[in-house]
């Protein structure tokens, strides 16, 4: 286990007009580990992911990647760094096939012409590397795939680029039991291959099944970031619903010195 985080967020703020969604949020992502990002609806998980992915720009705070400060202004910046996001709503084009989707926005070219054979070969190798056997043809339209297969394609798309951090937004939300197990297995395999994985999930079973660390967001603040082995199921639920659990989490009235609970109480009043 590496001692230094691959991706490090400190004091990140994000507002949409008068609504402040993220308050001084911090997050560490380590290589070879699955970090679960949990929180109730509206806690700011998706916003945080979009900030990392460059879809939103952060208002304040720092992002450190592999030890140096970086500024991420667009999805291209994020992918250039090696950060890939698999979105909840998948972000696949139904009218394109698997290969076309996996290379979308980063097509391999030979001259001005798309290099289809190379792309098809690389897509096949990547799926093989992830031990995906469920896809019949690489040239079938994504629209004809099942939910689990679509999720697999989306994840394979994210790892195709020698990426170092993969963020998965609710990858199992719409899946059946068997497909969920498949996708979780895939998530674990990504981390075992040395990637830093961030898993956003509502499902505590999924979280405890694969994650090494758990980061809990509560109303836009990072309540706690702990090792999965150090907490129980119910402690995590308390962190999600109340923002604290025993001496973990956000302070009640006075600060209890938790590193992640750096709040300025008047900051969001307006």
């Amino acid at each position: 286990m590496a001692a230094t985080p691959l991706l490090e967020l400190r004091g990140v703020n994000k507002s949409f007009g008068p609504v402040q969604v993220l308050h001084d949020v911090g997050l560490d992502v380590y290589p070879g580990e699955v970090t679960a990002l949990v929180g109730d609806n509206g806690a700011g998980k998706s916003t945080m992911v979009k900030c990392i992915a460059g879809i939103y720009t952060i208002d304040a705070g720092t992002v450190t990647y592999e030890g140096r400060k970086v500024a991420i202004h667009s999805p291209r910046d994020a992918s250039a760094l090696g950060i890939e996001v698999v979105y909840q709503d998948l972000a696949l084009c139904d009218n394109l096939d698997i290969v076309q989707n996996m290379f979308l926005g980063r097509e391999k070219m030979s001259g001005v012409v798309l290099d289809e054979p190379t792309m098809e070969q690389m897509a096949g190798d990547t799926l093989a590397g992830l031990s995906v056997r469920t896809v019949k043809s690489l040239r079938q339209l994504v629209a004809s795939l099942s939910g689990g297969q679509r999720q697999t394609v989306a994840i394979a798309k994210a790892v195709l680029w020698n990426s170092k951090v993969v963020i998965l937004d609710e990858p199992t939300a719409a899946l059946g039991v068997a497909q969920t197990a498949q996708v979780l297995e895939l998530v674990r395999r990504l981390a075992d291959n040395g990637l830093g994985v961030v898993l956003i999930s509502h499902n505590m079973n999924d979280v405890f099944a694969v994650s090494d660390r758990i980061a809990a967001l509560y109303l836009g603040r990072m309540a706690a970031q702990v090792k999965a082995t150090d907490v129980t199921h119910s402690q995590v639920v308390e962190l999600i619903t109340a923002g604290r659990s025993g001496n973990l989490g956000l302070p009640s009235e006075s600060s209890n010195g938790n590193g992640y609970a750096d709040i300025t109480p008047s900051g969001d009043e307006r």
Binding site: A53, I55, S74, P75, R76, S79, V85, Y87, D89, L90, A91, L92, C93, D94, N95, L96, Q100, L104, G105, R106, E107, M109, V112, V113, L114, E116, P117, T118, E120, Q121, M122, G124, D125, T126, L127, A128, G129, L130, S131, V132, R133, V135, K136, S137, L138, R139, L141, A143, S144, V159, L160, N162, S163, L190, N193, G194, L195
Partner: protein
Amino acid sequence: MSTTTTPAETGKPEVAKPTAASHLNAYWRRVRGGDIGSLPAILGLIVLCLIFGSARETFVSALNFANLFSQSAQVIFIAMGLVFVLLLGEIDLSAGFASGVCGAIMAILLADHGWPWWGAIPAAMLTGVVIGFMLGLLVAKLGIPSFVVTLAAFLGFQGVLLRLLGGGKNISINNSFVLKLANSNLSVTMSWIMVIVAVLGYAAVQFNQIRSRASRGLVTDPLGIVLMRIGGLAVLLVVATAVLTHERSINPAINSVRGVPIVAPIIAVFLIIWTFVLGRTRYGRHVYAVGGNSEAARRAGIPVDRIRISVFVIGSFMASIGGILIVSRANSVDPNTGGSNILLYSVGAAVIGGTSLFGGKGKVINAVIGGAVIAVIDNGMTLMGYAAGTKYIVTGLILLVAASVDALSRRRAASSGAR
């Protein structure tokens, strides 16, 4: 990730080498699943030709066949441009009058300012590009629905055309090069050379594709199917050219009329260029992606706004070429050039050919096939002596049928999981 080079036996999807029969089977399954493409239009075209051909002998004459090209050229060109706009789920209602404005600019430069054709034609094309850029900018950057933007432009360009023509006069052109574009034919030798080049070129592309895929151990289309495609194209072109190289002048001694109309290779060149752009380049892939799911495209780092602007530019550019050809065919431009039913015929051509009104699905060839259907209806019904009213009703009904096929195949695709 470092595991992308893992040996294939760990689970690379193994696909059996398809035979001609399994290929046809797969095609039939796709059709039944709602992915029908141009099939209804091609069937419709055959049926219409049989009906008109049996009712009026003149319909199948070489002269009439040649006429179909120049009659449908403007609609086909506007429709080819509209395919790009429709692929994004947008619409361009101003394309008809945009083509009229571009044609008028060419005519004015030629007739009133004495410009040579090589100045006037690019000027008309540039006008098309500028028009498309403005439309695209309003749609993409201001976020006005394209229906409204182009409806406003439809009215506006109608006015621009009237003003350009000084309140409604008719400008004639006598530039021989421009007049030849829509009214002359290739020589018989040249016609056959074009056919040979086209068939050999198509075969070369097909075999090259097979070779490059096979050399990497990827699945290729069965040889029988490829030969069938090449053979089909060859038969179609040879028969058409054989008919067109027949003497079709009423009095050959005075004025011999033989050969493929020049518009046919012009259509073919643009068809090939745009098919290449849509199918084989990064830009084309991005157009489909934005049409299929613009949010996914944006997250993939595709400049969605620029793509949106560019399709309007292509749409109006193609409309300008349509305008040049219609002015060439009529020898003049008047306030109704590109007006009346041209635009609706063009949208109809794209949709009848199989381009989806919902975006993300369509090919440039759809515009040509759909344009042929429209031209055949128009031409055939005129020959049979129907009134204009009846023609419009029938064309309208056929467009409605095409749109229903599009909507139904979408529903069917949704239920069969194939989109």
